[in-house]
Symmetry: C2
Subunit: 321 residues, 2 copies
């Protein structure tokens, strides 16, 4: 059994393309297809497949429906988040609410949440309750994370601890959930389900912190999108919150000025560099990845699987896109 993202991703893409939609109102599903065809890393569903294969020794595709459930759910949250954030672009294409309208994006998003639950439920009856409990608990946490994220926009006193809690809720829990769903499908012990959840959760924190770093310090050619968007939006990332706490008002002054975009990015990056917040952000991501990896040791799995999960954890804080 090979463990690599390319193979897993192919299974996912095939599964997404094969989803069957009801036909009373076909236009309801046009934004659903559009959103699901938008690509993305497919990291979450790959985690479901990999964890299932690693812990059961069986074919990863046996957990395909649960993997699709996670991916459909994730895309539902992006669809609704884009409406709430009034975002124009997602994965290099117009967002669904621009291509259609906000109503279409809201209603099709609702349909995606129900579709995700339907896919999840395509499982042996003895695993349904545990899968559903994990999935729903995670979904609720993700809404809480989005709520906090929106509240942070209008607050000036967000702490680093609050920020970590927000990204944990908004991002990390779904990576943890993906691993846990794969483990539950594999009939793993409670301890193994929990360990795999912790692995995904820690990796999610690392992944998100690296995302913040890339948005400010990434190579636009490799990262695939403009650098500095978070700075221009005054988004309260780990970098900004930390630098604001340590720069004695300097960062706040810069953010208050009415600077040209490039000048603003450049001045903020200068403060970040002086305070080394970029490097420290990466170090923190690395620590979370190491913490994530430590949970793998307690779970019996083939060497190839363990290597795969360890390499993903390493990528979470070293990736360039």
């Amino acid at each position: 059994m090979q463990y690599n993202l390319k193979d897993f991703t192919e299974i996912i893409e095939g599964g997404l393309a094969g989803i069957e939609y009801t036909d009373n109102a076909p236009r309801l599903f046009a934004p659903v297809r559009y959103t699901l065809e938008g690509g993305g890393k497919r990291l979450r569903p790959c985690l479901v497949l990999a964890t299932y294969a690693a812990l059961s020794g069986r074919e990863p595709a046996e957990a395909l429906n649960q993997a699709l459930a996670v991916e459909v759910f994730h895309n539902f949250t992006l669809l609704h988040d884009d409406v709430m954030d009034n975002a124009d672009v997602r994965r290099g294409r117009p967002t669904a609410h621009l291509k259609w309208n906000a109503n279409a994006a809201i209603l099709s998003g609702d349909a995606m949440l129900t579709l995700a639950t339907q896919l999840l439920a395509k499982c042996p009856a003895d695993r349904l309750a545990a899968l559903l409990d994990m999935f729903n608990r995670t979904a609720m946490e993700i809404y809480e994370g989005q709520q906090l994220d929106m509240e942070f926009e209008t607050r000036s006193d967000v702490t680093v601890g609050e920020y970590i809690k927000m990204i944990a809720l908004k991002t990390s829990v779904l990576l943890g959930c993906a691993c846990a769903l794969g483990a539950i499908m594999a009939e793993a012990s409670e301890a193994d389900v929990k360990a795999m959840y912790e692995y995904g959760y820690g990796m999610g924190l690392s992944f998100q912190l690296r995302d913040d770093w890339l948005d400010t310090f990434g190579d636009p050619e490799v990262f695939g999108k403009k650098i500095g968007g978070d700075i221009l939006n005054r988004k309260k990332t780990w970098l900004l919150i930390t630098a604001a706490e340590e720069s004695d008002g300097e960062l706040a002054d810069i953010l208050r000025e009415d600077l040209e975009d490039e000048e603003l990015i450049s001045q903020v990056r200068r403060v970040y560099t002086r305070l080394k917040v970029g490097d420290r952000c990466n170090e923190l991501a690395k620590r979370y990845a190491a913490e994530a990896a430590s949970h793998l040791k307690t779970v019996a799995m083939p060497q190839a699987a363990s290597d795969f999960f360890l390499s993903l954890a390493e990528k979470s804080y070293t990736r360039t896109h």
Copy 2:
């Protein structure tokens, strides 16, 4: 065992008040509470309790979580529909997106859909798959109904058949689902689950047609809201579609004119009255209610239960509010 709406409603209100919310982002749930406290008939959850009691002979409150699931789901659809329709008032109070904002209404609605699924899943393990399947299938149909409803706004060729299909999807299936969930909880036979579904479904059609009638011909004092809203919105109800088909262009001409509100309502009602579409709408509702009631005969239940369901079916087309 007494079967009456008042007792069932009390159980529901107690259950709604006792729902426990997670606490990472309390503001997420303020619109949820507000929406659930808004009252309404609680007809759908009462159908869950009544069907459960009638078919199991046990205490209705044993199916409380499934009843709450249906009510929370129903209120989630109202919350999102109100955003999509940009509605100002719901049950005599400002809509949630006015009281907060559209983003809060979208995100809190999402949380309600997940909450509904969580409540539904609080059941004996052997019934979970069937409950979830019925619930999710119904949810998808309701989104399809809302999609059609929105599409109808910009179409001038909607037929009566299409209208009936739309209200079936948007309204009737949830009344059918409510009865079916109660029956599944009661471990009823497949035939009984189906019969109770058909009962609720037919009653839903009757209920909605009467709603259209009340909006135009109701007594505002008793109905509790302004009369003629559908006419002012040119809403394609059974009345309007039928009268448009039969009035030889007269109705279309009136609707095209730039009349004062009261004059428009009065002229449209005159056409309706001449064509007797009001009476025929009620007759059609009565036929659907009779069809609904016919399914009860095939299901063994106590006389008190049967009387209760029959009286509800009668009310669906005779009610004045």
